[in-house]
Amino acid sequence: MSDTPLFKVTIDNISIEVPAGTTILNAARIIGGDVAPPAMCYYSKLEGSGGKCRTCLVEVSKGSEKDPRPMPKLVASCRTTVMDGMEVKNITSPKVVDARASIVEFLLLNHPLDCPICDQAGECHLQDLSYEHGKDGTRYEFQRRTFKKQDLGKYIQLHMTRCILCYRCVYTADQISNKRSHGVLDRGDHSEIATFIEKSLDNNFIGNVIDVCPVGALTDKTFRFKNRVWFLKPMDAHRDCPACSGKVTLWNRGDEVYRVTARKDQWGEVEEWICNDCRFENKKSTDWIIEGPRLIDRHSVISQGHYAGKIGLTMPTETFSAVHHGRQPKLLMDIHSVSEVNQTDIDLSSINGPAHSNNFNSNKD
C-alpha cells in the first residue's frame, strides 16, 4: 500500500523509518545485527505466531511522539507495532538483558540439555540463545519433566522433552497442510505437543515442521544419528518437483546426501516450504541439480568460531561445582527416557559415600 504512513522509530539509538503496522522486531531486523532481538517462537512466515516465548522482550522508553510516556513493562517486540517517534531499547537496556537471561533460564528449566545426543545440536536456536543471552549454570535442582519419544509416522520423531512449546509446528500444520493432526494437549508445564492417540503425521508438507522447530523436538527420522550437522556441507540445489518449488539445501558429506532441508534465511526461517518427497525420498546426488554452496552465517557450530572469544576453543577451567556456585546439583538430566543409573527420584547428594547399586534398587521398599 503506497499510502501507508511511514513511522520513525529509534532502536538502540539507531533511527529507521518503517511503514505503520510494522512490529518492533521487524523494524529491528531491518537494522540487523545485535539490534534484532532473538525470537524463539515468532516466525514471519506463519500468521499468528509469536508472543509465546518472550525472548524478544524490549523496553519501550518512549511510547510515541504524541504520547511520550514509556511503556510500564517490557513488551514482546514480535507482537508490538511501532508508533511514530517510538524509542526502543534492546541490548542497551540492562533490564532487557537481565530479563532475557531469566527467560533463557526458564526455557532451559525443563530442557534435557542432551545436546551431545541431539540431532539439532549445531543448528539449534536454543543453543544459540543460551550461549548468547544466558548465564552459565542453573539454579534448578528439581526433577525435570520427561516424556517418552514418539513416532509421528514414518518420517518424523517427536522428543517432547526438548520442546519449548513455541507453537510453530502447530501453526505450520494449520497453515500449509490441509488438516492438522497434532496440537498442544494439556496445559501449563505439563502441556505437550501430541497427536492425542498416536497418529502419524502424513500430510505431504508436514516435513516442514522439522525445519520450523527451533530445537530438536521434531527430528527427521531419515537423518537421525546419521551425522553431525557440522560435518556436513550445505549446498543449494533444486529439482523439478510437481508438488513444491523443489528448491532445497542438501547436506552432503563427500558425494553422499545425508539430508535435505528447506533453504533458510538469515533469521533461520524457511524461505520456501518443500514437500516430503523432496525432503525424505530424494537422497541421491543424481536427483538434484547443484547450484553451489549455501552460506550459513548464523548458526553456531556450523559456522566455525561463532563463539570465539566468548566460549571459543578454551577449555573451561572451573570445576562443575564452581560453575554451580559451590553447590552440588542433586541430579543431572536423565537423557534416556528411563535411566537405569541415575534415577531421577533419588537424591544423590543425600547418599552417604559413593552411590552403590543398592541405592538404585527399585524393588526395595
Binding site: 516465548c53 518472550r54 514482546a76 507482537r79 537481565d98 531469566s102 533460564e105 528439581f142 501449563g188 508445564d189
Partner: protein, 425 residues
C-alpha cells in the same frame, strides 16, 4: 448499616423464581430501559454511575461499553463472564445461585444497550449446578416476554445462552474465554485487537463480570448519579466481598466501600472478628492474585492512614506496601497460619492452571511451587535469590498469567520476609 443494591432482596423466600422476583420489583429496569431510553442513554447512564468492572481489574464499565465497534451488518455480542475461578472468590456464585433473575435482568438491559441479540453466559465448569438455575430463570423470563423475540413489544430480540466451561482458570481472562466459547483451546489471544473490535467469532464483543452486569439494574432503576453517590471517590456503588479464612462469619457481604478494613473484619455486621481470640496475621484482600498484606499494612497504610475497603485505599502504596481490590475475594489468615504454606498452595494452583502459552509462567510457576514446598519443609536456602530471578521477568500483561508470575515472585519474597519477621528472625 451500608446500603444494599444487589443483595437487598436475596433473602426473600422464593426470590429465585420469576414470580417472587417480579413481585419484589424485578425487571423494572428492563421496562424502563427498553421503553423509555435509547441505547446511548443507557451507556451514558452507566458511565455516569462510575461503575467499575467487578471481575478484578476495575476498568470503568461504561467506558468499556463505549469502545465497542459498530460496523454495519456485523452482529455484536455481550458475554457474561461467570468463570469465577480466583481462589477465595465466590461472590458471583452466590448471586447466580440465590438471585439469578438479577443477572438475567442486567443482561437484558446491557444486551439492549450494546445491541447484542445473542448473549452468552460463560460459566465455569465446576459450578455444575448453577447452569440449571440460570437456564430455569432464562426460561421463566422468556415465558413472561422479557426474552426472545420482540421483548415487551419494543421490537428488540434477545436470546441468552448458558455455556459451560471445562474448568480452567485462564478462561476467566476475556480473550481466553472467547476462544473457549468458540470451542477452541482456552489460550489468551494477543491484544490488540481488543474484543470490543474483534471478539467472539471476530465480532465486536463486550465481556463483563456477573456482578458488573447485575449492578446495571440499580443504575437504571435509580439513575447513574444516584449510584455514584454511594461509595467514595472513584469507588462508586456497592461491592460484593466474599470473605473467607479465619473469621467468625465467612460469607458474601455487600459493602458500600466506605467502611474500613478493620471494621469489615471485626464488626459483627460483617466478618465478626477472628475465631478463638486469635490475632490477625495477614490477609489477601482481593482474591489470590493480588498482593498479600501483613496485619500492620492491612489496617493502616504505610503512611499511617486508615485503610478502607475500596479500590483506591486498598491499592495505596502500590505493589510495595499496598494491594488491590481485585475480585473481592477476602482471605484472612490468623496467627496460626503459615504464609509460606498458604503461598505454596496458591503457587500449586497457578502451576496447575497456567495455560502454558508463555514460557515464564509455564516454567516459572512450576519452579516456584517446588521451591516453596522445599521452603515449607525447611530445606530451601536459595529462595530469595530465586524469587528475584522470577520477578525480574516482569512482562506486559498481554497474556494473562505473567501478571500472576510477577506477583508470585513478590509473594515469595514477601512471605519469606513476613514469616521471618513474625518469627523474630
Amino acid at each position: 448499616m451500608g446500603r444494599k443494591l444487589l443483595l437487598e432482596k436475596a433473602h426473600v423466600e422464593g426470590i429465585r423464581y420469576f414470580d417472587v422476583y417480579r413481585r419484589e420489583g424485578g425487571y423494572r429496569s428492563v421496562e424502563k430501559a427498553l421503553k423509555t431510553m435509547t441505547q446511548d442513554e443507557i451507556v451514558e447512564e452507566v458511565k455516569k454511575s462510575g461503575l467499575r468492572g467487578r471481575g478484578g481489574a476495575g476498568f470503568p464499565a461504561g467506558m468499556k461499553w463505549g469502545f465497542i465497534a459498530k460496523p454495519e451488518g456485523v452482529p455484536r455480542h455481550l458475554v457474561c463472564n461467570a468463570d469465577e475461578s480466583e481462589p477465595g472468590t465466590f461472590k458471583d456464585r452466590y448471586l447466580m445461585e440465590f438471585i439469578p433473575h438479577l443477572l438475567i435482568e442486567g443482561l437484558i438491559v446491557a444486551s439492549y444497550a450494546l445491541g447484542s441479540h445473542d448473549t452468552y453466559i460463560y460459566i465455569r465448569g465446576e459450578y455444575a449446578w448453577i447452569p440449571d438455575i440460570l437456564e430455569q430463570a432464562i426460561a421463566e423470563a422468556k415465558a413472561n416476554g422479557f426474552l426472545g423475540k420482540n421483548i415487551l413489544g419494543t421490537g428488540f430480540d434477545c436470546e441468552i445462552y448458558v455455556h459451560r466451561g471445562a474448568g480452567a482458570y485462564i478462561c476467566g481472562e476475556e480473550t481466553a474465554l472467547i476462544e473457549s466459547l468458540e470451542g477452541k483451546r482456552g489460550n489468551p489471544r494477543i491484544k490488540p485487537p481488543f474484543p470490543a473490535i474483534k471478539g467472539a467469532w471476530g465480532r465486536p464483543t463486550v465481556v463483563n463480570n456477573v456482578e458488573t452486569l447485575a449492578a446495571v439494574v440499580p443504575i437504571i432503576n435509580e439513575g447513574g448519579e444516584e449510584f455514584a453517590k454511594i461509595g467514595v471517590g472513584k469507588s462508586t456503588g456497592t461491592k460484593l466481598i466474599s470473605a473467607c479464612g479465619n473469621i467468625n462469619k465467612p460469607g458474601v457481604y455487600e459493602i458500600d466501600m466506605t467502611i474500613s478494613v478493620e471494621e469489615f473484619i471485626y464488626s459483627d455486621e460483617y466478618c465478626g472478628g477472628i475465631p478463638n481470640g486469635k490475632r490477625l496475621k495477614a490477609c489477601i484482600p482481593g482474591g489470590s492474585s493480588v498482593p498479600i498484606l501483613p496485619a500492620n499494612l492491612l489496617l493502616k497504610t504505610a503512611k499511617g492512614e486508615t485503610r478502607y475497603m475500596n479500590y483506591e485505599s486498598l491499592s495505596d502504596g502500590g505493589f510495595a506496601t499496598g494491594s488491590m481490590m481485585g475480585s473481592g475475594g477476602f482471605i484472612v489468615l490468623d496467627e496460626d497460619q503459615c504464609v509460606v504454606r498458604n503461598t505454596y498452595s496458591l503457587a500449586r494452583f497457578y502451576r496447575h492452571e497456567s495455560c502454558g502459552q508463555c514460557s515464564p509462567c509455564r516454567e516459572g510457576t512450576g519452579w516456584m511451587e517446588k521451591v516453596l514446598l522445599r521452603l515449607e519443609k525447611g530445606k530451601e536456602k536459595l529462595v530469595i535469590s530465586i524469587c528475584f530471578g522470577i520477578s525480574k521477568a516482569k512482562l506486559k500483561a498481554t497474556p494473562f498469567v505473567p501478571w500472576v508470575t510477577l506477583h508470585h515472585g513478590r509473594w515469595l519474597l514477601q512471605s519469606v520476609i513476613l514469616e521471618m519477621s513474625l518469627n523474630g528472625m
